[in-house]
């Protein structure tokens, strides 16, 4: 219940935080909202010697319009993202996914960057970020670099963020006017999904012009349902057409088998949830 002893640092700038990371190396752990890290420390699954709290770095918080993208600061809380008008207008898929992430109390503390850096395959933000082609801005001792969503998620709880680096912000290309839906299938309320589907669709005169679909918990990282995406293009936004395309939802996936469901069950779920999500996102 109580974490092991650690030293606590609360830098007020990214530079200070990076210096502390550089000094303590892999003995140190970054603390964002703490909603995943503190349970891990309490269960003693990890026992860093130093915890570096980003909570006092104001520059990491907030959401801004940057031309063809919106930029979400890594330390922006889920509850802020959930109610942000820029996100709702230009990246509705994120608003829909975050609304069903955990519960109110957790959303008040947990952060956008923290959830993505944590890279839980059952986490709700990876699939929308992947589907929207988000770009991850990562700062290290040598400066800043940008990593595309396709390269960001490496494996189970593993991202492209190096040990001496910090995720500072996420750029999300605008998808203004796109319909969006996050279909999350859970066993109990306010928990991680067994499977979830993030779908965003651009419909022109009843026809699907473009579709982007991300899958949660269908492998060790979030995945794109590319076969469905291409099958949908040019199709009418109708039940039959979407059902046919959605049949390929589990292609190329490698879902886990656990107490919540066998892999085969998850593959079936993916086809059902993709159909529902695409139809809902198309306004059909």
């Amino acid at each position: 219940m109580i974490p092991a002893q650690f030293d606590y640092l609360a830098p007020t700038t990214v530079e200070e935080a990076l210096a502390a990371l550089g000094q303590h190396g892999d003995d140190a752990k970054i603390l964002a909202g703490g909603q995943s890290l503190l349970p891990v420390l309490r269960m003693r699954l990890n026992a860093p010697e130093v915890v570096i709290d980003l909570g006092r770095i104001e520059s990491l918080r907030g959401i801004r319009d940057d031309g063809d993208a919106i930029v979400i600061g890594a330390m922006t809380q889920h509850s802020v993202v959930e109610h942000d008008p820029l996100v709702a207008e230009h990246a509705a898929l994120i608003s829909k996914a975050v609304e069903h992430l955990a519960d109110h109390q957790i959303r008040h503390r947990g952060t956008f960057g923290g959830a993505l850096a944590h890279a839980d395959p059952a986490g709700d933000l990876g699939a929308p970020a992947l589907a929207l082609g988000a770009q991850f801005v990562i700062q290290g001792p040598g400066g800043s670099r940008t990593v595309a969503a396709d390269d960001f998620f490496v494996d189970l709880f593993e991202t492209a963020i190096g040990e001496d680096e910090i995720l500072t912000e996420v750029r999300v290309p605008k998808h203004t006017g796109w319909g969006a839906c996050y279909e999350k299938f859970v066993r109990v309320a306010h928990q991680w999904p067994i499977v979830a589907v993030a779908a965003t669709v651009r419909v022109e005169g009843g026809t699907i012009a473009e579709a982007k679909i991300g899958l949660t918990n269908m492998g060790s990282t979030p995945l794109r349902a590319r076969a469905v995406e291409s099958a949908l293009v040019g199709q009418p936004a109708t039940e039959d057409a979407v059902r046919a395309a959605a049949a390929q939802a589990a292609d190329g996936t490698n879902p886990p088998s656990d107490l919540n469901g066998e892999a085969a069950y998850r593959k079936h779920l993916a086809t059902v949830l993709v159909r529902r999500a695409v139809l809902n996102a198309s306004g059909a």
Binding site: Q5, L38, H108
Partner: protein, 156 residues
């Protein structure tokens, strides 16, 4: 040890704490505010809910050092001048509790809920209390209590 200064239920407090001390431990063990309880090991139950700078958080999932410089309100700080908060009165009025273990957290989360949505529907109340578990009531009277408080203008 790390020095922290914060406001708890309207009083300034200052202490040396181990960085690993959880906010809930600090409230209960250092300040004796045992009104805030611990109901689980997994940050699921919500019994430990308090307000940090005016928004609800699970105090078992926050470090005391993270609250340095901030303002905490617990169930013990809701009553003003000896008069119960409307939400407390409504839980009493509508039998919104049985064993009472979940109640401090339920009330703190319900106050947060009405602050953002003074007139929630039944569905909105149930969703708003998603992070708070009750093993006794079956939730019906808890929902009624929140509806009652809303009708009484309990959003303050």
């Amino acid at each position: 040890m790390t020095r922290i200064n914060l406001t708890v239920d309207g009083s300034n407090v200052s202490d040396d704490v181990e960085p690993r001390m959880l906010l809930v431990q600090y409230l209960r063990e250092k300040l004796g505010k045992t009104g805030t309880v611990i109901g689980c090991d997994t940050s699921n139950c919500g019994a430990c809910t308090v307000h940090l700078d005016g928004v609800s958080v699970k105090s078992c999932n926050v470090l005391a050092v993270q609250a340095d410089g901030h303002e905490v309100t617990t169930i013990e700080g809701l009553a003003q001048d000896g008069e119960l908060h409307q939400m407390q009165k409504s839980f009493r009025e509508c039998h919104g509790l049985q064993c009472g273990f979940c109640t401090p957290g339920m009330i703190m989360q319900s106050v947060d809920l009405l602050k953002n949505n003074p007139h929630p529907s039944e569905e909105e109340i149930r969703v708003g209390l998603e992070g708070n578990l009750c093993r006794c009531t079956g939730y019906h009277n808890i929902v009624k209590s929140v509806q009652h408080a809303a009708a009484q203008g309990g959003a303050q």
